[in-house]
Amino acid sequence: MKQQELIRLVLVALVFGLLALLPLIPANDRLMALAVPIAMYAVLATSWSLFSGPTHYISLATAAFYGVGAYTLANGLEVFSYPLLLLMAALLGGGLAALVGMTTLRLSGVYFVIFTLGLAELIRQLVTWYQNNFTGSRGSYVFTDITEAQIYWQLLGLLALVFLLGWLINRSRLGFAIRIIGNDELVARHSGINTARTKVLLFILSGAFAAVVGAVMAPRFVYVEPSMAFSPQLSFMVVVMALLGGVHRLWGPLLGVVPFAIVWELIAANFPGQTVLFMGLAFLVVVYFIPQGVAGVLEQQLHKIRQRRGG
């Protein structure tokens, strides 16, 4: 068992190492145009499912954290150093998640979903109000010399970090607790698990990651606008990609992000006027034919093959 894990770790490290070499390929612009969004959604979807996977709480707050991160960077760029700003984004995102988590994670199911959807809008209006009354238009422009490749490497680093944390959590008491909560919250509480604290901790983690992603992506947009930074579409994309991949495995969302992004690219390139229409059709196909996600289908197939061999 120990040896198997070691092999797995080496393999994962190898894959990450190979992926990190991607920007070194000459004339890679087309590749990078695809790789950056994939890396971004991979971090967002994986960190999202750290919390939402085991607990089944569908959070639509990703855009709220992402926007907070983007604005942290835009507003602080002239005052603080870049690494410090990433740390601040993580703290602010995590802090916001803590605040929201403590007040709403006692809610269940649909109430939580609705609240998180409203959260991005609430924060968008707060940021706008603040800009309107105190800063004018300052803090909207992000002038840096950060290249596309550097953004990609940062996202890849974040992804590695999410995987590492996710793996550690799964092995820890925290991971065990959250799985019990996901199966039956009442049982968890009766077994002496502090359910509220456990949920909030994981929610903080996913919030912090989304905020850092927002901060890392901001230089790419040069100009940060509230309606773009807090776009609800981002939250929905993350949920759809994660569900498409499957959230019961750490590597599940990845299986959703990659094909989704590639299909999206194909549609946008070949039917530029009808992207939304084709996307809707793609959603329907996913819901009807692979409701348990790509990871679920894969595992089913593997299971069948094993059974056949065994039988």
């Binding site: 612009d29 087309r30 145009a33 969004p37 209006q125 706008t128 109000w129 800009q131 309107n132 009354n133 004018g136 238009s137 909207s140 422009y141 002038f143 790419r220 947009f221 040069v222 100009y223 606008e225 509230p226 309606s227 773009m228 776009s231 579409q233 690219e265 946008a268 390139a269 530029p272 006027g273 992207t275 939304v276």
Partner: protein, 403 residues
């Protein structure tokens, strides 16, 4: 045998024919022009008035006269490749990247709206494409011009647009038409915030009293409280730095509440033909952002062609500037006689252009003459104030009720 002879005779002829056909086809190989702007999402409405019809008109006009004149004497038509950015900056970036690397577009038209265009600016720069912006209105044009050597701006700066409004008010006050009381309203989005931020101190400096000052979030459905509050403050002038949906809503409410002001100003959307279509003669005397020289032959000819080719009228502000920006590209390509992007960029920097907006010359990569304030007078939206003294400005008048 006879047939064979015939073939033998005709074969060289046919070959020669196909050769000339081939070379003609080669000469006529189109210049690829990329266009990535909104067809869906919040910016789609504005782009459908100002951006897309002009793209269509430009393609039509250039190809109708056989294409662009190249240095070797041939003419090349243009072909537009369109992408919808869904009002998402990430999508704008990808569309422009796709145009540069996949479609290998010879030139790319700047996207529509400040946020989307600026998101694409680094990509234009990296791939060496000149970027002639129109609807990118910001106070950062100098910073951006210093940063990107291929970026150009044509429609003005926010602070200058705000100063234009203040000047129009000063003019009317000096004529003894209005008093000192101003109600200032703005949409809490980048454009509205920047304009209000610039207008507030400028108004105070000129001795105006801001009796009502309120902002509202983008997408506010009911502006009645804003309008009632403004009316209760009994202003002489009502100034709203608004976006199209709120421009229409505020104008509607002003009539419902019978807002009694001598100056009524709303920003983006006011110069749209649909604004007049909606309110008819009631808007006579309404001021708005932008304007045109409605009496100039160039504009009138442009207006007529726009209507004929696209089936809709241009707006009275950015439409003509949008078309002028395409004319700059067109004349620069013909001036260079080819599609060398570096040469075309240099040509844009160092030459004068004849456009529907008159003579244009870029100064520090920016056009310094543009309309700042216009007014609906006798069914036409006419420029009343401009930066750089554009010809054709008319004197501002006061608004006489809503009937």
């Amino acid at each position: 045998m006879k047939r064979w002879l015939m073939i033998k005779k005709l074969l060289p002829l046919a070959l020669a024919g196909s050769m000339t056909f081939l070379s003609a086809a080669q000469a006529a190989e189109p210049i690829l022009i990329g266009a990535a702007a909104s067809k869906t999402g919040p910016m789609a409405g504005g782009a459908a008035v100002t951006y897309w019809p002009n793209v269509k008109l430009w393609e039509h006009e250039v190809n109708a006269r056989g294409g662009l004149q190249m240095a070797d004497g041939s003419k090349r038509p243009i072909r537009i490749i369109e992408y919808d950015d869904r009002t998402d900056p990430a999508e704008t970036i990808r569309a422009v990247q796709r145009l540069a690397t996949n479609d290998r577009a010879d030139f790319i038209l700047a996207p529509y709206s400040t946020g989307l265009a600026l998101a694409a600016a680094p990509i234009f720069d990296r791939y060496g494409y000149p970027m002639v912006n129109v609807s990118t209105i910001t106070d950062q044009t100098d910073t951006l011009s210093a940063r990107y050597e291929r970026i150009f701006f044509t429609l003005g700066k926010t602070s200058v647009l705000a100063a234009g409004v203040v000047d129009a008010l000063v003019q009317l006050r000096e004529a003894g038409e209005i008093g000192n009381r101003v109600a200032l309203v703005n949409v809490a989005d980048a454009f509205g915030i920047e304009l209000a931020q610039a207008a507030r101190p400028a108004l105070q400096e000129k001795g105006f009293e801001i009796v009502f000052n309120r902002s509202y979030p983008l997408g506010t459905q009911d502006l009645t409280p804003v309008m009632r509050g403004a009316a209760a403050a009994r202003p002489d002038a009502f100034v709203a730095f608004s976006y199209p949906p709120d421009t229409f809503a505020l104008t509607e409410l002003a009539q419902v509440e019978n807002l009694d002001v001598k100056v009524f100003y709303t920003a983006v959307g006011t110069p749209f033909p649909s604004y007049k279509g909606r309110f008819g003669d009631a808007i006579n005397g309404v001021m708005g952002v932008g304007g045109v020289n409605a009496d100039s032959d160039a504009f009138q000819a442009y207006q007529k062609r726009h209507q004929e080719v696209t089936g809709q009228a241009p707006d009275f502000w950015a439409s003509a500037v949008q078309y002028a920006s395409f004319q700059v590209l067109e004349q620069a390509i013909e001036g260079v006689g080819g599609v060398d992007r570096a040469a075309v960029t240099d040509y844009i920097k160092n030459n004068t252009f004849q456009t529907v907006m008159g003579e244009w010359r870029f100064e520090n990569q920016q056009i310094r003459s543009y309309w700042t304030v216009g007014q609906w007078q006798d069914g036409e939206f006419k420029g009343i104030a401009s930066e750089g003294n554009l010809p054709g400005a008319v004197a501002p008048t006061i608004k006489n009720g809503w009937k």
